[in-house]
């Protein structure tokens, strides 16, 4: 029974990674943290009902995402990816230290936003928390929604075109700037959801809460293959399962090392991730 409950915990943690992994942005972990803080402040200080607080957090993060994109990333559209990476790290420091100044370094105890009780099966031998059910359900809804959106919608198609070849997309009359802004808006709104779900399951909220999940999600994206929605989902869930299993069966301290070791082995066998496309080099 512990095996099944570990599996469920792993899938639930992995679902959160999967939601975060949809955006490949190093400052994304900190957007998650901001989302969680906004939701926390709404429920504790303003007494807003939890579900509404999530909507407010999503709205705040959407604005934040568009601002970050417009101020920090848009001017660097033609710069090297390393320059973008360093700027993203600057943004990450900025968000963390802003949170530190606004909300202080004391950990906040986040109360779960899920209003249901845990489900006990097999005479209480197997307990499934309501948080993990909601997390997995939300993740599945988001994945299906996004897949449909990018497959069929006009904006979704534009998004795929821009991610494949920015210059060619622009020549076809796609407004690349607004498309990328929209991507950041959607990604940041989802980050707020991920933040709330993460803190419902692991209720300690500090300004650096988002950094490790951010790195893990980045890893998950690479694990599954960069730029693929099913890849992010698969990578995230596998990573979550490996992490929880490593924690409970091998060693709590070494669980991160195990996750990264599996990643390295996978990349050595499949250098572009599990579902990534092999890119042929042109000479």
């Amino acid at each position: 029974m512990t095996f099944i409950s570990n599996l469920i915990n792993g899938i639930s943690l992995g679902s959160i990674y999967a939601i975060i992994a949809l955006m490949l942005n190093f400052a994304h972990g900190d957007v998650i943290m901001i989302g969680a803080y906004v939701s926390y402040i709404c429920t504790t200080s303003a007494g807003i009902p939890p579900i509404l607080s999530v909507v407010i957090a999503m709205a705040v993060c959407t604005v934040l995402g568009i601002l970050i994109e417009g101020l920090a990333y848009r001017p660097l559209r033609k710069a090297t990816s390393l320059a973008v990476l360093i700027t993203a790290i600057g943004v990450s420091y900025f968000l963390q230290n802003s949170a530190l100044l606004i909300w202080g370094s004391n950990p906040k105890t986040f109360s779960s936003i899920v209003p249901f009780d845990s489900i006990a099966l097999f005479e209480g031998k197997l307990i499934i928390t309501a948080e993990s059910i909601v997390t997995v359900a939300v993740c599945i809804v988001i994945m299906i929604g996004l897949t449909l959106f990018t497959k069929n919608g006009k904006m979704g198609k534009a998004m795929r075109a821009v991610s494949e070849d920015k210059d060619a997309a622009q020549l076809m009359g796609i407004n690349t700037n607004s498309t990328i802004s929209l991507t950041f808006a959607i990604g940041s709104a989802l980050a707020a959801v991920a933040g709330v779900l993460l803190c419902s399951a692991y209720p300690v909220l500090i300004p650096t809460t988002g950094s490790m999940p951010g790195i893990k999600a980045f890893t998950a994206a690479v694990f599954g293959g960069i730029g693929s929605i099913p890849g992010a989902m698969l990578g995230g869930i596998l990573l979550g399962i490996i992490e929880i299993f490593g924690k409970s069966y091998i060693s709590t301290e070494l669980s991160d090392a195990i996750v990264f070791a599996v990643l390295i082995i996978v990349l050595l066998v499949k250098p572009t991730g599990l579902l990534g496309k092999k890119i042929n080099e042109k000479v």
Partner: protein, 368 residues
């Protein structure tokens, strides 16, 4: 021939070398008397050895990122390997080597060797990958090293060294001394690092890296960076040269790590995490990729920046972040480039016109 014209007659490489070595030596010549007479305050004097180690780290990372052109996000891992193997070596040689400078030398060499071995083991799989995938794997290795050292317990007694991955009790020592204590890291280190040692280590690093860049090896490495396939087709062994650069970089980082650890009484494994790797990368990128002197200047300025912003108290890291973003935008965005170009053009224009006026005076116009 005057010195100035002799200097101009030198090759471009020789001039870069003179500038880089000169900068370091002059900085040392100014700082050393200030430090030994106690003119500068304690907070700056305590930063001198860390600055030296970060300069070495930045130069060595520049070899990987700037010269070899592969993004490494796990440089702190090599620093960590060097630091903790150095700490163990320092404990092992505490009684047999009495002289502090000699022991420091042994510690730094051992730190460098172990980090070099780690570089070899990591380099073989990592260098097969490209781009983002390579970056994430170096990150992964850095985290793995941090996690493993976090669970490592080492003790020393009359029989020698004892290792364990569980706890201090399982070391099986009766009355030994604990050297590495898991998550607490190295405890009770005798501080033997000095500013002079840091200065010498920078000179050695410069000697190794600059000679490497301007040698056959360096030219092969830059050829691989600029076009791997073309380099391969003219018979350059990509794996060999990539590994050479990667291992050299790792070994230098290990030496810096060993010196760093010898400057504190306790060092925890979590000090050498992803953020430290990023810190070094920021030094390299802001100093200019492949520009060794730039790395030295950027490290010194950026390392001192939080210290100089101390009066802003809580806001200093926020200011640091804003400065970082603004510098990146100013040096990389297309708009900023256009502005600097036009300003340069205007300044140049002023001088050109002035020269023209001067020459006009002496000439007789022939269209009149």
């Amino acid at each position: 021939m005057s010195i100035a014209s002799k200097y101009k007659a030198l090759s471009k490489y020789a001039r870069t070398n003179i500038k880089t070595y000169g900068l370091v030596i002059i900085a040392f010549a100014i700082m050393f008397p200030l430090q030994s007479t106690g003119t500068i305050n304690n907070s700056i004097s305590g930063q001198l050895v860390p600055i030296c180690t970060y300069i070495v780290l930045a130069i060595s990372l520049n070899l990987t990122v700037g010269i070899l052109g592969e993004l490494s996000l796990g440089h702190a891992g090599f620093m960590s390997v060097g630091a903790f193997s150095g700490v163990i070596a320092a404990a092992a040689f505490r009684d047999s080597v009495a002289s502090d400078p000699l022991r420091l030398l042994i510690v730094i060499i051992i730190g460098g060797i172990f980090a070099g071995i780690a570089g070899l083991l990591i380099g073989i799989p990592v260098l097969r990958l490209r781009g983002d995938y390579l970056a994430i794997v170096t990150l992964a290795f850095g985290e793995i090293i941090k996690n493993i050292i976090n669970c490592l317990y080492v003790g020393i007694d009359s029989k020698g060294l004892h290792f364990s991955m569980k706890d201090t009790a399982s070391l099986g020592m009766t009355n030994g001394k604990i050297v590495l204590n898991g998550p607490q890291g190295a405890v009770g280190i005798t501080k033997i690092a000095t500013f002079t040692a840091g200065f010498i280590l920078i000179l050695i690093t410069l000697f190794i890296v600059l000679n490497m860049i301007y040698s056959k090896t360096g030219r092969a490495i830059t050829a691989i960076r600029d076009n791997r396939i073309a380099a391969e087709s003219v018979g350059i062994s990509v794996t060999k040269y990539k590994l050479t650069a990667f291992i050299t970089s790792a070994a230098l980082a290990g030496m810096a790590g060993a010196l760093y650890a010898m400057n504190f009484s306790t060092v925890a494994p979590k000090k050498f995490d992803f953020n430290t790797s990023i810190l070094i990368l920021v030094f390299v990128v802001l100093g200019g990729m492949g520009n060794i002197m730039g790395s030295i200047i950027a490290t010194t300025v950026l390392y001192m920046l939080p210290e100089l912003l101390r009066e802003f108290a809580d806001y200093r890291m926020l200011i640091y972040a804003i400065v970082l973003i603004l510098v990146m935008l100013a040096t990389n965005s297309t708009k900023a480039k256009l502005i600097t170009e036009s300003v340069k053009f205007k300044i140049k224009g002023v001088f050109v016109r002035k020269n023209k006026d001067d020459s006009d005076k002496g000439e007789v116009t022939d269209n009149g």
